[in-house]
Symmetry: C2
């Protein structure tokens, strides 16, 4: 039975990265039915890539016996900078996209409503809607990946700020004269707690690094050093790698204390690839935040690992599309 | 003509400090009609002080030919910690008050509705309602005094967070291993930009301080050194004092960059006694924030000096009472 407007029960979520995109079919209650990941052929240019998105969307609908009329809307989570309201990717050096009207181009290809939002905001919203943040009123989401992204839910709705730049917790300054960040500023949380910062900090201690097991694994080729190699060795008990993750956790906890004092959220959800280190990172982070923050605020803030792993972005992008087009959830502010 | 419930056009605002309280008569549109400041006789205990508040309230009403029935409600802005919902001052070492049910005690004495809120939140709300923040949607207020207080307006309403501790921007950490703060934590903005921190930082440079004009003014008695003496000499061109305020401005700007990246407000209003230093402080603060923050966010955020001076707290406390009892303004979240 083809669904009428009121019966559209499915939403498409797309998580757009620098080298891959993922397309998921999500129910209006936040359940992920299916998800597919595709490598982007950058050289083919935006039109070809957006054609590919269309193909993946319809292939997924077909496989579930669904059609376009079953779908409420499509939500895309993308790295910045982009113009959310215009639906335009302003620049992506990874994709080599500049001023690409992604929303318009995809809408024309699929004949569905499309909305664009941030990747970290989508992941945050996903965890709030269908993950570990469910039921909370005020939530902060952090995505520790190549950079440190963030999102902010206030009163059960995404808080965007006056120019769509709220929630960039990765660029809170925790060391006024500290490490240089990818944004050019000094001492940002991102310059300590992102995957690239963890590798950078390891390389800044060459003597200790050379004595670690991680160094042996990469046969002394520093370009092969990754945060993943380091946390795997931390997990296996390598002293250098363990100390590095403990220190990372303390920096993260310093940022968390600032978040607790300013946003006073019920829950802070930590996701992204670096969060796979789990308690190697979160235990020292909680200790440091507890040491630094007002006890009365710290006690009320749960600091937890994200629960939807790499699907948070797809689910959240779908949820934000439902916010935007479905009027079934609190609208965004 | 005695006013009926619907015609109550006046609100009482009280700004409670550690040594003084101020009582103001404020119109429901935010105009301050009169204000009186009184020294608190701490030794007399809470009941006597609250009796005095009642006397000042009725003296002010009398002087304007008004009675209790002209008053919508009383709002009190107080330093923490307090229980906003219960209306109880939990502890004030300055006042020697512990678990004082201020709201109940004052309500019984004046026969009017009373509500309690934070001093920095009241000052922030005052600037938003009737001061330089008027008409903005998302605003941050900072009060640079003995400490650094803050308040957060989101979507035109005070944002309290999950346990009434949001907006403590003074306890964002800007130097992970920096100066010890009054809260026991290290490297808080308050440990650099409060009046006491400015004095402390001056005393940490004894050689330069001794060569400054400020040192001559206080005849080398370091306990007489105040932020006021220092900014007056900064204004007169004393090199040491100027450099100190420039450095203070840079620390403040570091905190402002963090606020811009996380809250992305339209306007940040800087008040409190230290803000009297004006552009000696705000020019380097704006420069530092501009150097550190995303250009697109910085361009959209005005950083301005508070406009209501020491009356912001009284006016804001009255405004919050109107929020609470009058339903004439957006309610608080």
């Amino acid at each position: 039975m083809p669904a009428s407007g009121r019966q559209r029960k499915w939403i498409i979520g797309i998580d757009l990265g620098g080298s891959h995109f993922s397309v998921g079919l999500v129910s209006t209650s936040g359940a992920l039915q299916s998800v597919q990941r595709h490598r982007v052929a950058v050289a083919d240019g935006p039109a070809a890539i957006i054609d590919q998105m269309r193909e993946v969307i319809f292939a997924q609908l077909d496989s579930q016996g669904l059609t376009r009329t079953d779908v409420l809307a499509v939500g895309i989570g993308s790295p910045g900078p982009f113009d959310r309201k215009a639906g335009v990717i302003i620049e992506s050096y990874n994709l080599q996209w500049f001023d690409v009207p992604l929303v318009k181009m995809l809408r024309e290809r699929v004949g569905m409503d499309v909305v664009l939002d941030g990747d970290a905001i989508s992941a945050t919203y996903g965890e709030w809607w269908a993950g570990v943040g469910r039921g909370s009123r005020h939530m902060v989401g952090l995505t520790l990946g190549t950079g440190v992204g963030g999102g902010l839910i206030i009163n059960g709705a995404v808080y965007y700020g006056c120019s769509d730049l709220a929630g960039h917790f990765g660029h809170m300054i925790i060391e006024a004269n500290g490490r240089v960040c990818s944004c050019g500023n000094q001492g940002c949380l991102e310059a300590y707690a992102s995957a690239s910062a963890i590798v950078g900090r390891a390389l800044e201690k060459p003597k200790e690094l050379r004595r670690s097991q991680a160094w042996k694994e990469i046969a002394g080729e520093s370009h092969r050093l990754t945060a993943k190699v380091l946390y795997q060795w931390a997990r296996r008990g390598d002293g250098f790698a363990r100390a590095l993750f403990e220190e990372t956790g303390r920096y993260l906890g310093t940022g968390l204390a600032g978040i607790i004092h300013t946003v006073n959220p019920e829950i802070i959800v930590v996701g992204g690839a670096v969060a796979k280190a789990g308690n190697l990172l979160l235990t020292p982070a909680r200790q440091e935040a507890g040491r630094r923050a007002f006890k009365s605020a710290f006690r009320r803030t749960r600091i937890v690992r994200a629960s939807l792993a790499e699907n948070a972005g797809v689910i959240g992008a779908a949820g934000l599309a439902q916010c935007h087009f479905g009027n079934q959830r609190p609208g965004a502010m």
